[in-house]
């Protein structure tokens, strides 16, 4: 395959996105995901893991890794208990062949543990990396909930963008920013944020068609929209709610209230 090399680097750069897409494409009822990280792992670790898994009868799996040393094992069709068993097995075999290895494993099975979105997967990998004990960690639903939601901030005013970035990042959200309507639409398609926090007066596209555009976008789950704007005309506000906007906040705004309203949208 001529594209293998580029494909490989593509996976390396964007491992979680890749997994998300793969799981979706596989269309399995359930799917087990396991992340393995080892601080002192040798270069051939991936090959080792592959070897161990291949020796198992009737197990279909995929193994990928990224440059941070995170190894991802996808096992379609496996429920949580089966994944856990595979995890135990893998750990045991690895330690047999590589006694110095200190593998940290986090695993889960979807949809039992929620949606395998990019951010959830990333958080799983992080938890494997940060885990202090050698015990296998089963990623829980509660953790999924706390997975960092991604918010796209759209405003023409750099001051507002900077402030919202700082503020929302402190609340644990992952933030991105766009300064005009057209680049915002592009970013929504690319980044698939969970929420768009946006002004209505933007360059490039009129407010209402812009909102409609986001709603009708060809993404699996259209983002929640919260409008933060100077526009106070009643008619516009009601039109926004009619097109499915989650909340409408006018400027000048109270940052405390904004936090609360955003939190409410996610619950």
């Amino acid at each position: 395959m001529p594209n293998t090399a580029t494909l490989q680097t593509g996976i390396q750069e964007n491992l979680y996105q890749h997994i998300e897409d793969w799981v979706k494409a596989a269309k399995q009822k359930v799917c087990g995901v396991l992340f393995l990280y080892s601080a002192n792992g040798p270069a051939h670790l991936e090959a080792q893991v592959r070897g161990i898994l291949e020796s198992q009868p009737d197990l279909s799996f995929e193994v990928w890794s990224n440059e941070e040393g995170i190894l991802a094992v996808i096992m379609p069709g496996l429920t949580l208990d089966a994944v856990h068993f595979e995890g135990l097995l893998l750990k045991q075999r690895l330690q047999e062949t590589l006694p110095d290895l200190d593998p940290r494993i986090t695993l889960a099975s979807f949809p039992e543990q929620g949606e395998p979105t990019e951010s959830v997967l990333k958080q799983m990998a992080e938890s494997a990396k940060r885990s202090v004990t050698g015990d296998i960690h089963i990623f829980s639903k509660e953790e999924v909930k706390a997975a960092r939601s991604r918010i796209l901030i759209v405003d023409n005013d750099a001051t507002i963008r900077e402030f919202l970035q700082i503020r929302l990042q402190m609340q644990g959200y992952e933030t991105y920013e766009a300064e005009d309507g057209l680049s915002a639409l592009e970013m929504i398609e690319k980044l698939k944020p969970d929420m768009v926090l946006t002004e209505l007066n933007l360059y490039g596209i009129d407010g209402l068609p812009y909102i409609n555009h986001i709603q009708n976008m060809n993404v699996s789950k259209s983002p929640k929209i919260v409008v933060l704007t100077e526009q106070k005309v009643e008619q516009t506000i009601s039109q926004c709610f009619q097109s499915g906007v989650e909340d409408y906040i006018t400027k000048p705004f109270s940052p405390v209230e904004l936090d609360a309203r955003i939190r409410r949208c996610f619950n």
Binding site: T159, F163, E234, P252, F253, S254, P255, V256, E257
Partner: protein, 397 residues
């Protein structure tokens, strides 16, 4: 002979001199300005960390620190501008903390000094900045400036600064008096200025509504737009019968926006008001009131000389179920001139909008209307054809 040309030659010299002067001035100003921009950018970068710190510690209980180090005047200005920008975006507790920071950092005092400057331009700028920093200690001085200012755009700038900074209702009231004393009908702008205040505006507006000064009443009426609270209704009741037509129109609009229960008598009276704004407002609200006597009134109002009245009446009829819709069809078929035009337009509007109703009850009511439509205009044979525009037409704006 040459003496005649002498004047011309002097003219040439004067021009030459002024050109030289002008060019020198141009370059001086340009270079100075560019240098200042560069310095500002430099300071902005220098204090970027401070700005970040302030923004991330806004909500904490400890005091926000003043900018570190000894600061050059331009540097202070850059920081002040940034803080003012943030203040403008926020309301509530966090804004007060920034305001308090400006005070502690001495920015308010800087500008208070500038307020006494010999240069008019500096004083106006200081007034603007003090307003942005919500510096209430400046208000008496600002009111004094506003008192001396003859009517110009600067009146509004000063008024806005006072509205932002004022901590007492009297000050706001005095500001409004000073702004309106020139007799210009600037009630909308004055309302916008007034709403900048931090004080509880609804209480203040209620007070204004009962004020003897009609200008105050008008400002209050437009400022309340779309947010008529129950407390104002008694005051509005009185104003609905006001002599002055602007006041009456605004009061009626506001009154109707609170969805009141109207007596047939009142409706009739409002529908025959000589101010078209009043008629248009009542015609609009009849659509959602479902008052029994309103249909014939609306039918008549479709012959009104004003477009808004006709349009709102037709819109209301379209909302009043099949009976209303049938009246529209009737008018479109048998009426003439403007009323027919209006009816046709709204019938088509209902028909084109109807198709996207999803809810069952909407679907049912739409289908009933469609049946009416077909009865009047036939499915194919008698589609409403637009006739040539009526002669004479409508001369209202």
């Amino acid at each position: 002979m040459f003496s005649h040309v002498t004047v011309a030659i002097y003219f040439v010299y004067v021009c030459l001199g002024l050109i030289g002067l002008g060019i020198a001035l141009l370059f001086y100003m340009k270079i100075k300005h560019l240098k200042m921009l560069k310095m500002k950018e430099h300071y902005r970068l220098k204090h970027q960390d401070y700005f970040k710190f302030i923004q991330s510690h806004l909500h904490e209980n400890s005091e926000l620190p003043v900018p570190p180090g000894k600061l050059a005047p331009l540097e202070r200005r850059v920081i002040q501008d940034k803080l003012a920008e943030l203040i403008e975006q926020f309301k509530g507790e966090l804004r007060n903390r920034l305001v308090e920071l400006c005070e502690r950092a001495g920015f308010v005092k800087d500008e208070m000094d500038q307020l006494e400057s010999l240069f008019f331009g500096r004083r106006v700028e200081a007034a603007y900045r003090l307003g942005n920093m919500r510096a209430h200690e400046a208000v008496p001085r600002l009111l004094q400036m506003l008192r001396k200012q003859k009517y110009s755009p600067l009146t509004i700038i000063l008024g806005r600064a006072i509205a932002k900074a004022a901590k007492q209702e009297d000050q706001l009231k005095e500001m409004l008096t000073l702004m309106l004393r020139h007799g210009k009908p600037i009630h909308n702008l004055a309302a916008d200025v007034l709403l900048e205040t931090d004080l509880d505006s609804s209480k203040l507006l209620l007070q204004f509504l009962e004020d003897g000064n009609p200008d105050f009443v008008k400002v209050a009426l437009v400022a309340m737009w779309g947010q008529a609270v129950p407390e104002v209704i008694p005051a509005l009741d009185k104003l609905v019968g006001a002599e002055e037509k602007d006041v009456r129109a605004e009061a009626v609009k506001l009154y109707l926006s609170s969805n009141p229960v109207l007596k047939d008598e009142t409706i009739k009276q409002l529908m025959s008001d000589n101010n078209w704004e009043v008629r248009a407002a009542i015609a609009k609200s009849l659509g959602s009131l479902h008052a029994a006597g309103s249909i014939p009134l609306l039918r008549n109002a479709m012959r009104d000389e004003n477009w808004w009245v006709r349009n709102n009446s037709a819109e209301s009829l379209a909302k009043l179920g099949e009976t209303g819709f049938e009246i529209l069809c009737e008018t479109a078929l048998r009426g003439s001139g403007v009323e027919r035009e209006t009816a046709l337009f709204h019938i088509e509007k209902v028909m084109s909008e109807g198709a996207d109703h999803h809810a069952v009850d909407q679907m049912v009511s739409f289908n009933k209307k469609r049946l009416l439509y077909d009865r009047y205009f036939g499915v194919t044979e008698r589609k409403p054809v637009r006739k040539v525009a009526a002669v004479g037409g409508d001369y209202s704006a």
